[in-house]
Symmetry: C2
Subunit: 163 residues, 2 copies
Amino acid sequence: MRELAEALGVEAPSLYNHIGSKSELLQSICFKIANAFLVYLDTAEKTATNSVTILEKVIRFHIRMMLNEFDEVYVANHEWKHLKEPYLSNFLIQRRGYEKRLVVLIETGIRAGALKKNNPYVAVLTILAAVRGLEFWQQHKKNISSQVLEDDMVEHLLHGIIK
Amino acid sequence: MRELAEALGVEAPSLYNHIGSKSELLQSICFKIANAFLVYLDTAEKTATNSVTILEKVIRFHIRMMLNEFDEVYVANHEWKHLKEPYLSNFLIQRRGYEKRLVVLIETGIRAGALKKNNPYVAVLTILAAVRGLEFWQQHKKNISSQVLEDDMVEHLLHGIIK
DNA sequence: CCTACCGATCGGTAGG
DNA sequence: CCTACCGATCGGTAGG
């Protein structure tokens, strides 16, 4: 909070004329990000019927969020653990719901014969973990364009790396 | 440190008869894990010549380390940021060296015609990020066997999810 | 918006 | 191994 105050050019106690608490700041960031992902999934599911198409759209959205809204996504990915009740439970329920919808999406793709019969939970974990790993990218950025990064990662997660 | 002391059944100051500092504990965990990965890559490269075979072995090792040595790998993955100099620089050099060797491995596979011509840095990032993401698994463990988890994730990262 | 200050917590030391 | 305690840091409040 003292760092934040310094960045804003005020003393730390002055922050509390604008915000209620540090916790409150954390809550608004976490739920803002969680909501962005939920809303995107809604629209993706409305504008496409093919589960592979929806899956690809979702992966691309995750990648773009990591690249364009890095700071907030980072907080939502790491600091949610310090959310206070009832926000913590709420956040976890939302996140589990989101993951479950992705699992169902993959199950649908499997039943349609479009996706391999891998365990759908493992598939969702692999995908979410990979896109989230873009946070390490930020640290030692190679000079690779966002477009190559996005396209190659999507290709890898959908079709693999073996020729 | 106070939690650690409690777990050991002593008072916090007593810890310092056994260790030098909290930092020292962090160092030994981080370098122990970094070394395990380096040693494994060495042996994998000696016992196989095919780059796809080596890559698969390495991915499997990462997954097993995440499942079997979770606590220490977690610390090495997250807390290395708090390493003090010169350990911090040292650790980063080791890690970059390791990642670079994986990049070279993939480049070799591409030149051999075994792997797709994706950007090799993106491929390494995708793989490392995905296996590392197993830390979320620990949190909300589904009842899936380690073997299915390992096999399906390897399949996904090598051959993709699309049929 | 500020100054002054609080209670809790943390890694660690002194001294026995 | 312990008791006693330190200086730094943190989120936050009182009072103006």
